[in-house]
């Protein structure tokens, strides 16, 4: 059973949901072959269906990701500003999606299952500019890894610093 089969199984069971770019009037212009796949946990799904802070900004950013639009990606977290960043240590393969706006910003966490297939498992976490509200990244990575291991037998995609192995096109390396 491949990782995609496992994801399919989780989607059927309702523990993962494939994010669709609803709300984008040009949605029909991008064929399935040109799309990235984004799977989200039930918790994230509840969030994107809610009226909470930055929900529409999150949905629009997720839609752009799925529609294969240009995104800024950092393989190392010393690149401060980008949409998608891999957390240190790289071999842990936990990635952070950043929803920027006014503070607090939002963060989602997940891993690549395959090239152009991302599974977002945790979030949203609020990212404040105040030092005493810093996110505990060690705990986040642990929780994200534990959730992955609960859902999948396969390990996440791990391709070192080859950014094209994670995302096939429209990537601007930060």
């Amino acid at each position: 059973m491949s990782i995609i089969d496992e994801i399919d199984q989780d989607c059927r069971a309702g523990s993962l949901i494939r994010f669709e770019p609803t709300g984008d009037p040009r949605e029909h212009q991008v064929a399935e072959s040109g799309r990235r796949r984004l799977f989200i946990s039930r918790g994230i799904q509840s969030f994107v269906e809610s009226d909470k802070y930055l929900v529409q900004e999150t949905r629009a950013d997720f839609s752009d990701f799925v529609m294969g639009e240009l995104i800024q990606v950092a393989l190392h977290t010393d690149h401060k500003d980008c949409w998608l960043a891999r957390l240190e240590r790289a071999e842990e393969e936990v990635w952070e999606i950043r929803i920027y706006d006014t503070t607090p910003q939002l963060r989602f966490y997940g891993r690549f299952a395959q090239q152009d297939v991302f599974v977002a498992l945790m979030g949203p976490q609020e990212k404040s500019r105040f030092w005493h509200r810093k996110l505990n990244y060690e705990n986040i990575k642990k929780a994200c890894t534990a959730e992955w291991n609960r859902l999948f037998k396969h390990q996440p995609l791990s391709k070192g610093d080859d950014i094209d192995a994670y995302l096939s096109s429209n990537v601007d390396p930060a």
Binding site: P21, G23, P25, H28, D51, A60, Y100
Partner: protein
């Protein structure tokens, strides 16, 4: 088959009054992202073609390199003033932006998704009735096709298998509408 996203948004724009805060927030973010991608692509092009660096761009527009880096990295709140400065600093001039009516996008989506048979029915209905009488969704066999027309009210087109027709507004009818098919003209 679901109605296209373009059709759903168009419907809300025309009938929402006001358009919901959710839709407006979503579309605002889309536009922000699009402008940001445009600025980023333009910078990468000038970087490649003219050797432009972020430091040089910052110097040209009297800004800090960290700020330029931030503008190029995330959508943020690029104001028109900032966009103008960045474009000037990159030594480019904006071409006239263009816009596509949502109705055109809806038709384009419909052409891509509607089965041939449904498209033929939709076309025949539109040809049979004066356009001002025909607006809404043609629905048959689970599929929906938007029908273009000037809006008098908001009739809803429906059809059960084998019966294709439109619900057209008729205030004299107890139901507020009448059902019309391609075989006869509606009397509104």
């Amino acid at each position: 088959m679901p109605t296209s996203q373009a059709m759903l948004i168009l419907h809300e724009v025309q009938h929402g009054k006001p358009i919901s805060a959710k839709t407006r927030a979503f579309q605002r973010r889309r536009l922000q992202n699009r402008f940001h991608r445009f600025i980023l692509r333009t910078f990468r092009q000038q970087q490649k073609n003219a050797g432009l660096t972020q430091k040089e761009l910052a110097d040209r527009i009297d800004s800090r390199p960290e700020q330029v880096n931030r503008w190029l990295s995330i959508p943020g709140n690029l104001t028109l003033k900032t966009i103008s400065d960045l474009l000037l600093g990159m030594a480019v001039d904006l071409d006239d932006p263009s816009a596509t009516p949502l109705a055109d996008l809806a038709r384009e989506a419909e052409r891509k998704t509607a089965p041939q048979e449904i498209r033929q029915v939709a076309n025949s209905i539109q040809m049979a009735y004066p356009p001002r009488h025909v607006f809404g969704l043609l629905e048959t066999g689970g599929a929906q096709v938007p029908i273009r027309a000037n809006i008098v009210r908001q009739p809803v087109a429906v059809a059960s298998p084998g019966v294709v027709g439109l619900h057209l507004p008729n205030p004299d009818s107890a139901r507020g509408f009448e059902t019309a098919t391609t075989e006869r003209r509606p009397s509104i």
